[in-house]
């Protein structure tokens, strides 16, 4: 079937949306290859439709069978981004995968929020250890009504703030921060592995 200008524009529109969606999480060479393959699929299906009288109807059926471009992109995301994150365990692919799930699902959003808190707590605690080296009076363990609530640093220390601890806080805050980071990273990886198990297809 030879497409009219309207038909061509519908196909190009589909491919445009797909390309835009894929570009948010895939390298450009992979996007090019994926879009080329989907276009090949479409052209093949259109050619096989022969001289069907109603171009619009045929084209819409072909596109519906292929699936909406966002769904196809989501399937790529599940297979590629999450796959790479789980397999390599590297920080950047993991952040990319968690971010993609956070903006596309409700569960992903809350999990990403939890992971963000974990990473910030870990980095913050390790940061207190570093600050303690240079500004020993401004960093330590914060007490509220005599109860320790966590590692903290303040510039300047506000009146009423109870910061305690000597240089021994440094290894403690560092160990705690690193432990939280390791646990958070493991949780992130487990979460992505679980998500990969529920692969979208």
């Amino acid at each position: 079937m030879q497409l009219t200008e309207t038909g061509e524009s519908r196909v190009n529109g589909y491919l445009f949306v797909l390309e835009r969606s894929l570009k948010t999480f895939l390298p450009s060479d992979v996007v090019r290859d994926a879009v080329r393959e989907i276009e090949s699929h479409l052209r093949e299906r259109i050619a096989a439709a022969g001289g069907a009288p109603n171009e619009r109807e045929v084209l819409e059926r072909i596109l519906a069978e292929l699936g909406p471009p966002l769904r196809v992109a989501q399937a790529y995301s599940a297979e590629r981004t999450i796959d790479e994150a789980v397999t390599t365990g590297r920080f950047v692919p993991m952040v990319r995968a968690v971010w993609h799930l956070a903006v596309s699902t409700l569960v992903g959003f809350f999990v990403a929020l939890g992971l963000l808190i974990g990473y910030l707590l870990g980095i913050g605690s390790a940061g207190v250890a570093v600050i303690k080296v240079f500004f020993p009076e401004n960093a330590g363990i914060q007490f509220v009504h005599g109860v320790p609530v966590g590692f903290a640093a303040q510039f300047p220390v506000s009146p009423g703030t109870d910061l305690r601890g000597g240089y021994w806080v440094i290894p403690l805050a560092l160990a705690f921060g690193l432990a939280v980071l390791v646990v958070t990273q493991r949780c992130a990886r487990k979460y992505l592995a679980w998500w990969r198990g529920r692969r979208v297809s």
């Binding site: 994926a34 299906r45 292929l66 196809v72 399937a75 790529y76 297979e79 796959d83």
Partner: protein, 118 residues
């Protein structure tokens, strides 16, 4: 778990095996793989979602992909089973048969498929 969820998980779990089986007889391009799957199964819900799976199987080294020009008015990407893929397929087929056999025995022991009717 709802019946639909269970069916969906079953479908997802068997797609890799079905794709590897489809290309085991020789190289096929994406649409040919989909058409073969559609002819024998109802595993393909949205055609476009098969391509990311083909990409993953290629990255895992189970399939080898190559663009072929000139065969049709547009280029086609052919997939063929690698040695690693053939080995994996062999394992998966054996595991599938053993699994199906055990579940069938379980169904038979439970009195067959009309058990719920009693």
């Amino acid at each position: 778990m709802s019946h639909e969820t269970w069916q969906e998980q079953l479908r997802r779990g068997s797609l890799d095996l079905a794709i590897l089986l489809t290309v085991s007889s020789g190289p096929r391009y994406g649409l040919a793989i989909i058409q073969h799957l559609e002819a024998f199964t109802d595993l393909v819900v949205a055609e476009g979602t098969i391509y990311p799976i083909l990409g993953r199987l290629t990255r895992e080294g189970l399939l080898d992909a190559q663009w072929v020009e000139g065969e049709a008015p547009h280029a086609r990407k052919y997939y063929r089973l690698t040695k690693l893929g053939a080995k994996r397929l062999d394992h998966m087929t054996r595991e599938w048969r053993a699994f199906a056999e055990k579940i069938t025995r379980l169904i038979d022991a439970a009195g067959g498929h009309d058990h719920a009717a009693h």
